[in-house]
């Protein structure tokens, strides 16, 4: 390591142990990353194997067309429709609450609110998503339902309405944050053109910014839907355990997720048909959310290209 001499044997001619060590470290890190692939494979494998077992005993047609879901009763029906409508009903109510509120928040923060306000309110909204869902379930059952019963006395103790409303509150930040990001990404020039013609903030938002950000907003809605579909505790606590093919929000129903919880709490034996029903329900749920998530990815890619 002497400076200046040009006749020494340069150390850089030796490749060494170091390369092996670096290689091993890289491969162990790769292995850790690979666990995520294994997780996905595991999920698909588990759901598929048990579902296949299930469908060896229950026909696909009856699964999709039977209007009753009574695997735990004497007279067994295995129609997924009641659970599906339960899930969709609560999801719809949740979006019905979250979409107007979330989008309005996004527009307000984007067009109206001063910058400092935006910065402080965003984390406060994220707080809504950080509350454990079992706590929201308590609210739905103990606060919202009794309150609604004062307005509409025929409301059942377990119903889709309360659960849906509370779910909606929980997913407001999903829509408001992502939509606000989408609105933020709209080029200033478009906005300035609109103001230059004498438009109000509301007109600019509705006629220019929101349409321009529409794909980003749609992505946020799809993600919110996916989150609502997969939600378990709020509906398990407040929506009921009665699978019912209905769109009536005032009666007890059961969602796919609540059914899985119901069975898990019980004494169902491993390997029985009743046990496998949770995987049939599970794979339906997985297919739904997988579809929704990938549509949103596809849309997000498309909308990113728009601004590049």
């Amino acid at each position: 390591m002497q400076a200046g001499s040009s006749k020494k044997i340069p150390g850089f001619l030796f490749s060494g142990m170091r390369k092996i060590k670096e290689y091993l470290i890289e491969k162990s890190l790769l292995l850790s990353a690979f666990i995520t692939i294994l997780t996905t494979i595991g999920i698909i494998l588990v759901l598929t194997v048990e579902a296949v077992n299930f469908f060896s005993e229950v026909s696909l047609i009856s699964f999709f067309t039977d209007t009753e879901w009574t695997p735990l009763f004497e007279q067994k029906h295995f129609g997924i429709l009641p659970l599906l409508t339960g899930t969709l009903l609560t999801t719809f109510i949740a979006i019905f609450v979250a979409l107007p509120i979330g989008l309005s928040i996004a527009i307000y923060l984007n067009e109206y609110a001063p910058k400092g306000f935006r910065k402080t309110i965003k984390p406060a909204l994220e707080l809504l998503a950080a509350i454990p869902t079992v706590v929201y379930g308590f609210f739905a059952l103990m606060v919202v339902t009794p309150f609604l019963q004062q307005i509409y006395p025929d409301l059942a103790g377990f119903n889709a309405l309360s659960a849906g409303i509370v779910m909606g509150i929980m997913i407001i930040p999903f829509i408001s944050s992502l939509s606000e990001d989408a609105l933020f990404a709209v080029p200033k020039s478009l906005r300035e053109a609109s103001y230059g013609m004498g438009s109000t903030r509301l007109q600019t938002a509705m006629l220019v910014t929101v349409p321009a950000a529409s794909s980003g907003i749609v992505v946020s809605i799809i993600l919110a839907i996916s989150r609502a579909v997969g939600e378990t505790m709020i509906v398990a606590i407040a929506a009921g355990q009665q699978p019912r093919l209905t769109f009536d929000p005032t009666v007890p129903i059961e969602t796919i997720t609540a059914y899985i919880v119901q069975v898990s709490l019980g004494d169902v034996q491993h390997g029985t048909l009743e046990y496998r029903t949770i995987f049939a329900a599970g794979i339906t749920l997985f297919a739904l959310t997988f579809l929704l998530n990938n549509i949103s990815f596809f849309l997000r890619k498309k909308y990113r290209q728009k601004y590049e």
Binding site: A3, G4, S5, S6, P10, L13, S15, K19
Partner: protein, 270 residues
């Protein structure tokens, strides 16, 4: 040991035109970044214990050329090189070359001072620690020597634990120089080392370069022609990826052989 001698004989190549050997040498080097032809058939040699300045307008390949000698271009996507680069006569591009060892012999100082977010001591000692040296006394001595060599010791010796980021720009750059010197390279590459510094810091570092060339071979890329004139023994003028002219600084600046060189030097473009 015998294998090493054979390797040396094999790798060693005398320059055909002159009898003295170059410390750093490029032979017919072409560099591409993807489709972009960044360097075109560049051949030049740099003598030991001299300061060579690389000048030319932005984007003409000076930095690319500089970084060939410590293989920092390797990290850029789609970097491709043809030709030979030699250090002490040995080719430094090749499958068997251990690039980490090369960089201990060829150090680099960057345009914007980039000290680590650690103490001054930790910064200067880093190069030694990554070689596995643990002897505290040895490291302390090397750190002190390096800080003295980079003209910073007096200012920081009472507080080596201070964060390097708390220093001024000129001081930070001298920390970066000290950190390079601590591993005792034989070559120091400098990529516009003073372009983000104030004139006083710049002057101090130019003085430093003058002192360092006694022990080290220095190659400096600079946008500042006065700096090239002040600091270097030899100058190379690059234009659009080609080496237009290379010779003694005095000659390049007072009597350039090529018209383009003269135009650049007299400020007609660039």
């Amino acid at each position: 040991m015998i294998a090493l001698m054979e390797l040396k004989e094999e790798g060693y190549k005398k320059n055909d035109h002159e009898s003295r050997s170059f410390k750093l040498e490029a032979s017919h080097v072409d560099v591409w970044y993807g489709q972009f032809h960044a360097l075109k058939n560049v051949s030049m040699g740099m003598t030991a214990n001299h300061v060579t300045a690389l000048i030319g307008p932005s984007g003409c390949g000076k930095s690319t050329f500089l970084r060939l000698f410590n293989r920092m271009n390797d990290y850029i996507d789609e970097f491709r090189m043809e030709g030979e680069i030699r250090l002490d006569g040995f080719k430094i591009y090749g499958k068997k070359i251990e690039v980490e060892q090369l960089r201990k012999d060829v150090g680099m100082v960057f345009q914007k001072p980039n000290p680590f977010p650690k103490s001054i001591f930790e910064n200067v000692a880093y190069g030694l620690k990554i070689q596995g040296i643990t002897n505290k006394k040895f490291i302390s001595e090397k750190v002190e020597t390096a800080l003295k060599q980079s003209d910073l010791w007096g200012e920081v010796k009472d507080n080596l634990k201070k964060s390097a980021l708390a220093l001024s720009g000129g001081q930070q750059q001298r920390v970066c120089i000290a950190r390079t010197l601590a591993v005792e390279p034989s070559v120091i590459l400098m990529d516009e080392p003073t372009s983000s510094l104030d004139p006083i810091s710049t002057a101090r570092i130019e003085e430093l370069i003058f002192q360092l060339k006694e022990k080290y071979t220095i190659v400096i890329v600079t946008h500042n022609m006065q700096q090239a004139g002040r600091v270097s023994d030899n100058t190379a003028f690059f234009y659009l990826g080609e080496l237009v002219e290379h010779g003694k600084t005095k000659q390049i600046f007072t009597n350039p052989k090529h018209e383009r060189t003269e135009n650049y030097i007299s400020g007609r473009f660039g």
